[in-house]
Amino acid sequence: MSKSINLRKGFDIKVSGQAKPEVVELASETLAVKPTDFVGYGKPKMLVKEGDKVKAGTPLYYDKSLEAVKYTSPVSGEVVEVKRGAKRRLLEIKVLADKEVEYESFNKYSLPELSRLSEEEIKSQMANSGVWPHIIQRPYAVVANPAHTPKAIFVSGFDTAPLAPDFEVLFAGEEANFEAGMEVLKKLTSGKVHLNVNGQTPKVFAQAKGVEVNSVSGPHPAGNVGVQIHNIDPIGKGDLVWTVSPYGVVQIGKLFLEGKYDASRIVALTGSEVAEPKYYKTYNGASIDKLIDGKLSSKNVRIVSGNILSGEKVAKDSYVGFYDNQVTVIPEGDNYKFFGSFAPTSRLSFGRSLGLLSFLNRGKEHVLDSNINGEHRAFVQTGVMEQVLPMDIYPVYLLKAILAEDFEEMEALGIYEVAEEDFALCEFVDVSKHEVQSIIRRGIDLMLNS
């Protein structure tokens, strides 16, 4: 049964710098795979060395805790640098791209053939080609293990995060790939494949058949797949659910229809500090430097791979994250604000404490900097995080259980159902300025390693 869910809790953050629906081709000289994008795993084992020639889809490394899954090169070219950080932690594997991309060849099927494939054939092709990491497992929000079978697979068909890219632009012309991707996913679960949309359905989803289409509406985080799962078919202890982004579904479909790992993708360059926000067609792991080169309107900026609520701050010489289809540039807020705690201000606020006037002008697009607007304090205010978390979870109790490293409490309070991004708004509204998302990930790591 398709469900129709209307969420009322949450908060839409309106920021200036929405990308115009215009796509520009962007060649990137070097691209990189960043093992740090894949949280929860930390034992990468290199399969190539500097100087090796690779094709698009050639495995670069695998993780020793999940050996079946290969992380592959997005383009063909030469491995120019394996960048390591403190304690030789693997940070980036950089590939200098060829002019023409050459592809590793994988098995190619027509759409009707897909439904006759065995689960093993599908999984092995996916795990060896580089599309598998698009499959995320809940609990824990980490790359799924191909040996498992989930009770359901969820795809969130819309994005409510600040400055979220338009799916019509991102996935223009990918209808057939998406259909094939969903066809493949159906073979991987014992239950249903859910596609959650919010009223208007982007064209790319039009051809998908045999999936459960649910309608979910409401302010952010209604577009978060974790929130959708919680409200449609919640995860209990012992349950296993997989999630895939629409881009992941398209990638999977393309792999099986065309027999190659084509990591091209459209990335939106957004944010108030971008002179002309628009879309760029490039590849997974594109260079940030190339992407922002000459396109910013100010100097002291923070570049975020992903959205400003749960993305990651990246340096100019870094690369776009594996799961991100947007890069946001906002002002760095490393300045002092005179009487910042007392003077009336129109800075965006969920609450209406004295002098916070943003509620008077709800439609305004804000320019928000990265200042945390306050100081770290103990938990004081109550009942506010609950207003932006459309889940039957007590956020502060869960956070305190994590801080106390109380495993039983964490489990009882719902750690299996959450990912950092679901708590991003809790972090935004927190008057005591806790690093809520880091705490959630710390809790997940504790559970993973216990």
Binding site: I13, P162, G236, K237, D239, R302, V304, I308, L309, S310, G311, E312, K313, I330, G333, D334, N335, Y336, K337, F338, F339, G340, S341, F342, L348, S349, F350, G351, R352, S353, L354, L356, L368, S370, N371, N373, G374, E375, R377, A378, V380, Q381, T382, G383, V384, E386, D392, I393, Y394, V396, L413, E420, E427, F428, V429, D430, V431, V436, Q437, S438
Partner: protein, 387 residues
């Protein structure tokens, strides 16, 4: 404002690691952050933008909500003095007299409380918490204007120490620090602060509060007084606060203005306020129906405007740290606080002012209420587990 920034930047190295006053860093920080919101930026992973609210602004909101009570309280202290002395007065002279009596109490309270906070911030190496900005205003408003200053100081110190700092500071405390101070005064210096007598700022002059009066009279006597509706028994006087009593809590109207500010800004919990009023009314009706003493003749809504009920409901019960934290818990907590306030007020003639004790009792019970509410959530989760 650059010159203030320059001064701060100049002395800052002395307070930082390796500086000669390193120990006093948090003292410096407390003052710096009054002028400037710090330049802290979000970490590299997480929410890169944050709400404009911080704890200082939230606390200032509560203080602003208390200002109507304070201003009216000052005026009323003067009015009650001149009325008791039988002298003529103007608005100005009443307000001035009240200010002279009241402001020293406020000053002593802030000075001693902040001194304790500062000492703890240095010794325990934690930031000076904003919480006391509110407590320091609440304490003067719940004491009579005749309270000796040294008693205010002692009560404030004990309240901050035992009510808050021993637990780890704002956010960790079990009891509302301001109510703790009042309890210290109530039990420690009962002669100067009792629920059935009231002190007007005139030497040697005391009178019964309306609550003490009712407790000592028979049902018929009270019925007559309520029917006449004069003086202490006038609804207008009780509502507007034209009666002797603690500095800030006589006027239900001023509390309502404060409540409006707290609810509109979202800083105070409307759930607690509404449920506490409902609890008070419920018990008020029970009393009206079944009590054979003086309180039996009092209409239920009188209970809401007599004594400290309104002030306690708006400002004391809603302290987010010591109240229940879950929404369901807040309804239960507020209702029981209101219910118990009236119960203590009526049943126990020694403590006609039951609001303080009721809220303190519910402060202690709040974690238990939340425990059951959160447990219900855990059970819901467990019930859908497949293994």
């Amino acid at each position: 404002m650059q010159f203030i920034r320059d001064i701060l930047d100049n002395v800052k190295p002395n307070f930082e690691k390796g500086g000669k006053w390193e120990k006093y860093y948090y003292l410096y920080e407390a003052h710096e952050t009054l002028f400037f919101q710090p330049n802290h930026t979000a970490p590299s992973k997480g929410a890169h933008v944050r709400d404009a609210v911080d704890l200082k602004r939230m606390m200032v909101t509560v203080i602003v909500a208390l200002i109507p009570c304070l201003l009216y309280g000052m005026y009323n202290v003067g009015v009650q003095h001149f009325t008791a002395a039988g002298e003529a007065f103007t608005f100005g002279s009443a307000f001035a007299f009240g200010a002279i009596k009241t402001l020293p109490i406020v000053a002593v309270c802030y000075a001693t409380g902040l001194a304790v906070e500062f000492v703890f911030s240095v010794v325990r190496k934690h930031p000076v918490n904003e919480g006391f900005l509110v407590s320091g205003m609440l304490i003067p408003l719940v004491v009579p204007p005749t309270m000796p200053l040294w008693m205010v100081a002692v009560a404030t110190i004990i309240a901050v120490l035992l009510g808050k700092e021993v637990f780890g500071g704002t956010g960790m405390n079990l009891l509302n620090p301001a109510l703790t101070a009042r309890a210290v005064l109530f039990f420690g210096y009962a002669k100067n602060m009792s629920g059935d007598q009231v002190w007007t700022a005139l030497d040697g002059y005391t009178g019964a509060t309306v609550l003490g009066d009712i407790a000592s009279k028979s049902k018929e006597q009270v019925a007559e007084l309520v029917a006449a509706g004069n003086g202490l028994f006038s609804v207008e006087n009780l509502f507007f606060g034209n009666i002797p009593g603690s500095i800030g809590e006589t006027s239900a109207l001023m509390c309502l203005i404060g409540a409006a500010i707290l609810v509109i800004t979202g800083v105070g919990s409307w759930r607690i306020m509404v449920s506490m009023v409902l609890g008070g009314l419920a018990m008020g009706y029970l009393v009206q129906t079944f009590n054979n003493g003086g309180f039996g003749a009092v209409p239920a809504y009188y209970q809401l405007i007599m004594g400290g009920f309104a002030f306690g409901t708006v400002f004391m019960a809603t302290d987010p740290v010591s109240a229940a934290q879950t929404n369901v818990g807040k309804w239960i907590y507020g209702f029981m606080a209101g219910f118990l306030s009236i119960l203590i007020r009526v049943i126990n003639p020694a403590y006609p002012e039951g609001v303080m004790l009721a809220i303190l009792l519910m402060n202690v019970l709040a974690p238990l209420i939340d425990y059951f509410v959160v447990n219900a959530n855990k059970k819901r989760r467990l019930s859908r587990a497949t293994v």
